[in-house]
């Protein structure tokens, strides 16, 4: 854990809650208390009703692989040792356009399929940061 050398998120006032929840091994999404729309990435305003009110709401952490790519040549040197690695865009079960990027674990890149069910797992990469990732799920 101590020698984790990859780039870490730089949270801001709109995203701190997301990363704080991840440290607790919870996946939360910004949610509009007025019209009930989830939004990711976080945004100061709800695009549905233009409310500036927002809350963090825990979500189930389940979804399906919507799209993905597999990096064979890393443009960022910190990832050069990981190739080939996959980045997936996961569509969460809560809302059709609620999509979260991340890495997939427990699945070879060549075995990824569109629509495959995945669930969130939490990796404590440093004492300060936990990265949500995704693994294949039967349910």
């Amino acid at each position: 854990m101590a020698d984790y050398r990859k780039p870490l998120p730089i949270p801001d006032q709109y995203t701190q809650g997301y990363w704080d929840a991840a440290r607790r091994h919870e996946l939360v999404m910004q949610w509009c208390p007025h019209c009930g729309v989830y939004m990711f990435p976080p945004d100061p305003m709800c695009p549905g009703c233009n409310s500036l009110d927002r809350e963090w709401k825990k979500v189930g952490g389940r979804g399906r692989v919507y799209s993905w790519f597999v990096v064979h040549y890393a443009t960022h040197p910190d990832f050069a040792g990981d190739v080939p690695y996959a980045v997936v865009l996961v569509q969460l079960d809560e809302q059709e356009d609620l999509r979260v990027p991340g890495n997939i674990v427990g699945c070879r890149p060549e075995d990824i399929e569109a629509g495959m069910k995945v669930e969130v797992v939490f990796e404590d990469v440093t004492p300060e940061f936990t990265l949500p990732r995704w693994r294949p799920s039967e349910e």
Binding site: F79, D82, L89, V100
Partner: protein, 390 residues
Amino acid sequence: MGTTFKDRTAIVGIGWTEYSRASGKSTLHLADEACKKAIEDSGLRVRDIDGVVTFNVNDSVSPQWVAASLGLPELRYHLERWGGGTSAPAMVADAAMAVACGLADNVVVFRSMNGRSGRRPGGSGEHPAPRGEDQFLIPYGWTSFVHACAIFARRHMVLYGTRPEHFGAVTIAARKHGALNERAQLRKPITMQDYLNSRMVADPFRLLDICLETDGACAVVVTSAERARNLKHRPVYIMAAAMGGGPKVSGFSPNTAGFLRTPSHGDTYAKYVAPHLFGMAGIAPKDVDVAELYDEMTFATIFQLEDYGFCKKGEGGPFVEGGRIELGGELPVNTHGGFLSEGYIHGLNHVVEAVQQLRGEAGLRQVKDAEIALSTGVGLTVGGALLLRR
């Protein structure tokens, strides 16, 4: 409702520098050279220019420096757009609006960049801090604009069965055209086997799917339709312009962009821009003789053919097969070789090629009797386009 934009202005001059991997020149130097050539080509004098327009992503020179360097006696209109691929057609439209509304008489529009030896806009060679949207991308190794495009391309493959061979057909056509273009950097024709053998960069994209990072500049001169008729070349009229996108568009962050909230990664900006563009021009896609489509990735050609209405949604892959987008085909696309062969001057080089085609000056790569050309700029969820006619 009538329009006050259609056919009011024309492109009367074009100019370009050498396109290379290491210019050894500043972006001001490159801009000066391209603007000087475009102004000379127009038949106007440098002192007739009273507007300068450009765009950049903090990688180039401002219009003010170029105006001063050219020695313009007066600057009446200047605009420095911040933006990526969407911007080239949009800034030509900005210049046309300024001329049509009388804010300036003759505007030079340029894009100058050391996109290989200097700042590389695709994200290679620079590693910004994961702030903003990037904090959800970079920690996972989503570090390049290529990766964002790959998400759209994969989704298209999932939804419509688009295959690597479709991408290959686009890059083969680009090389075939580039072989006939003295400006092009990669002029050797390639085969499908060459394409399939090229190394995987970010699956589904191979090296030969991705544009050439390029040093260089090009420029065009925009003036009124009336003045254009008395200048050196046959005018190329700006029929129509459109820019923008649909709901939940994304901008370009310092390194990449996630486009995470777009309703469907199978659709792009062109779906929204096309009706305004063709509506203003009063023509249909079938009236377009040559299309210079922004091709930062092979895949961009495929989705634009669909979303501009040259074929049905999902049929862009089959459409590019069988030489249909090559010279002599149903719709010649990227007759200069595009970004994949000529070089990446961020879309303004596509406008330059469209003008050459409509003037009948494209030599061995001339589309016979080309009367109407489409030139586009892509930012995936946002973009822009011009329809030009002779």
